[in-house]
């Protein structure tokens, strides 16, 4: 099925937005004012966009340490995200969480945590509640290839399969955990999506840099989940450009080959898609440039908002430990 032009435009703009926001934040990070660890998702934008564009408003999302793309693709508030990175009281977690703990309940982005695999079972619990309450909502959780090495992954998929829970597992396989390639962590013959199948969870693998493919696979998975077929796992193959944590390129460290990075950049999810849409006259070069500038302006405003926001008052330190 061909993707319509309106949709393609939306895919493009959403991906471009995440890309440019991340690039701008990389630039601002050098000022040393965003004082928290930041895991940028440059290179991986097609996965959150392809998935989130297939979701309905009632569906929920959870994420991990590399959460900016998921948060933004879901429509999370940019100003509050940036303010959170700057540790301000206007941040989406009141400055208490930082980059690894984004939340925006108004768009059903339920939270991101920094402990690998920790949100997988929590998202299953959300699906469990949805099922009990007969809510028509799918619980989506994003995690990396590394998270599939935790016992939590297997235990969660098992329970989700056992109870046929409406949960959509999205594994962003970017081939690395920090500086450790897959081959020091998993046997060469491993296919993550096949592991899911053996646990009773339907699954497939998709080119995670092809936004249309991710979207098609997600839409089809979600249809099945909504019909009561139980959980689904999508393994999206993709690649991170920058260092694991922080604003720099770390290719000189030698844990991955320069050629590998170059190869993936040739299949850049945003640039390749932009070229394609220009080629097919869906957009013009000028349109692309204007879109980019618009986003740069949007980030600039968000950063100004963050910087002009107050830091949380000292008395906030002792607040929020227990719910009233």
């Amino acid at each position: 099925m061909r993707t319509g032009n309106n949709k393609r435009l939306a895919f493009y703009l959403e991906m471009l937005r995440i890309r440019v926001i991340e690039e701008e934040l990389v630039r601002y990070y050098a000022e040393q004012e965003m004082r928290c660890p930041v895991h940028f998702c440059i290179g991986q934008e097609a996965v959150p966009v392809g998935v989130c564009q297939a979701l309905g408003g009632a569906d929920t999302i959870m994420s991990n340490h590399r959460s900016h793309g998921h948060y933004l693709a879901r429509g999370g508030d940019l100003r509050r995200m940036v303010a959170e990175l700057y540790g301000r009281e206007t941040g989406c977690a009141s400055g208490k969480g930082g980059s690894m703990h984004l939340i925006d309940r108004s768009v059903n982005f339920l939270g991101a945590t920094s402990i690998v695999a920790d949100t997988i079972p929590i998202a299953v619990g959300v699906a469990f509640a949805n099922k009990l309450r007969r809510r028509k909502s799918v619980s989506v959780v994003f995690f990396g290839d590394g998270a599939t090495e935790e016992g939590l992954f297997y235990e969660s998929l098992n329970f989700a399969a056992l109870h046929r829970l409406p949960v959509f597992f999205v594994c962003e396989n970017n081939l690395y955990s920090v500086y450790s390639p897959l081959n020091v962590r998993q046997p060469a013959s491993r296919n993550i999506y096949k592991v899911a199948r053996s646990l009773g969870v339907e699954s497939s693998r998709v080119n995670g840099n092809d936004v249309e493919a991710v979207n098609r696979a997600s839409a089809s998975a979600l249809r099945g989940i909504r019909r009561g077929r139980g959980p689904y796992l999508l393994e999206a193959m993709t690649y991170r450009y920058l260092e694991h944590c922080g604003p720099n390129c770390d290719i000189e460290l030698g844990y991955r080959a320069k050629e590998e990075l170059e190869q993936w950049k040739k299949a850049d999810p945003v640039a390749a898609y932009e070229r394609k849409l220009i080629r097919e006259s869906v957009i013009s070069k000028d349109y692309a440039l204007k879109a980019r500038n618009r986003i740069i302006k949007e980030v600039g405003e968000a950063v100004r908002y963050a910087k002009s926001s107050a830091y949380p008052e000292a008395d906030r330190l002792m607040m929020d430990v227990y719910a009233q």
Partner: protein
């Protein structure tokens, strides 16, 4: 390995200044050279950053069989380490944050800690678990926790917490020599601290605290980052004629009650600093021990200082109030001494920075 003790004290004699990180690295090398049963595993152990530099060069030197990366499977890998340990090996596991060790709590508490006891002493688990405690630069709620008290409460575990590079090397060696599971706590802010470290293989006894600075008016018991803070304040109070004795714990468990009680017997006053939450914490234990066994020497109430019972906030504005400041320590000392001190006038900072030194560039 145990019979081969070569115990050294850190002193001013030597003149070899190296970092805490380098000291850990040396301890690992010396132990691996000495005992072929020692192996090192951890997320990123052989990677280009080598667990903040502590495992750099090890894989090249000892091979992929004895130094290796692992899947992100902390609980299972701890079980693997326990299995190797009861089979005659001495595994050293490295975790880049103590927070991740929670994943392995079951294997540590239910298996490693109990193995020797629940089989009537037939087998033991010589396992060293290195856990790095983060602080600053927005480490936040899940990258800065110090679970020393949680571990110390479990019978069968030992908990070690070095402050100086010399201690780091000597105590890590002792932990690896130890026939029981040891939680070895490394504070991230100590990584770049320089100190005098003897060359060659040596170990320092577990369960022995150290009087880091002699004093007569008041005892401050502390460890790791807090021991260094205590030293700064002790220095600054000299001009006010206050003589502070600083007892550096070195080992949290077994607790060296003797040294602490000895110091309090001399000074009659006690402030206990905790590198973790002080409620239900190590400082609570120390205060209780002194109340039980040293009550007669106490001339004043005991004060505790540490983290308030809230998760670590990420915003630097809040983290600045979370960790005790020099001014807080000064005021606590004044409180116990019954004298009014003005921390500002004495040059003590009342806000806590979020980086260990001015050269630091984020992120960690």
């Amino acid at each position: 390995m145990r019979n081969n003790h070569n115990k050294k004290e850190c002193g001013p004699k030597g003149k070899r200044l190296i970092t805490f990180t380098a000291a850990i690295n040396e301890a690992l090398i010396e132990c691996m050279e000495k005992d072929p049963g020692v192996f090192v595993m951890g997320l990123g152990a052989p990677d280009p950053k080598g667990v903040f530099g502590t495992t750099l060069g090890l894989q090249k030197r000892f091979g992929t069989g004895r130094v290796f990366d692992m899947p992100i499977s902390e609980n299972a890998m701890t079980g693997v380490a326990i299995g190797a340990a009861i089979s005659g090996m001495r595994p050293v596991m490295a975790h880049q944050r103590a927070d991740f060790v929670l994943m392995a709590m079951d294997q540590i508490v239910n298996s490693a800690a109990k193995w020797h006891y629940m089989y009537g002493g037939q087998a033991s688990v010589p396992l060293t678990i290195r856990t790095v405690v983060g602080r600053g630069w927005g480490q936040g709620p899940q990258h800065s926790q110090n679970f020393q008290a949680l571990f110390a409460q479990v019978p069968g575990l030992k908990v070690v917490a070095p402050t100086t590079p010399c201690e780091a090397k000597g105590l890590l060696t002792a932990s690896i020599e130890e026939n029981n599971p040891v939680i070895f706590v490394e504070h991230r802010w100590l990584s770049n601290q320089m100190g005098d470290v003897p060359e060659g293989y040596y170990s320092m006894p577990l369960g022995k605290a150290n009087v880091m600075r002699k004093g007569s008016d008041i005892t401050v018991v502390a460890s790791m980052d807090m021991a260094l803070e205590a030293m700064v304040v002790a220095d600054g109070l000299l001009s006010s004629g206050i003589s502070v004795e600083v007892v550096n714990l070195r080992t949290v468990k077994p607790l060296d009650a003797e040294t602490i009680l000895g110091s309090v017997a001399k000074t009659g006053r006690l402030v206990v600093m905790d590198s973790s939450w002080y409620e239900f914490g190590v400082s609570a234990e120390i205060a209780a021990v002194v109340a039980e066994k040293g009550f007669d020497s106490l001339k004043a109430k005991v004060r505790r200082l540490g983290l308030p019972s809230v998760p670590t906030p990420t915003s630097p504005a809040l983290a600045g109030h979370y960790y005790p400041s020099e001014a807080d320590i000064c005021l606590a000392i004044g409180d116990v001494l019954g004298v009014r001190l003005n921390p500002r006038k004495l040059g003590f900072k009342d806000v806590v920075g979020d980086v260990p030194d001015e050269y630091f560039k984020g992120p960690f």
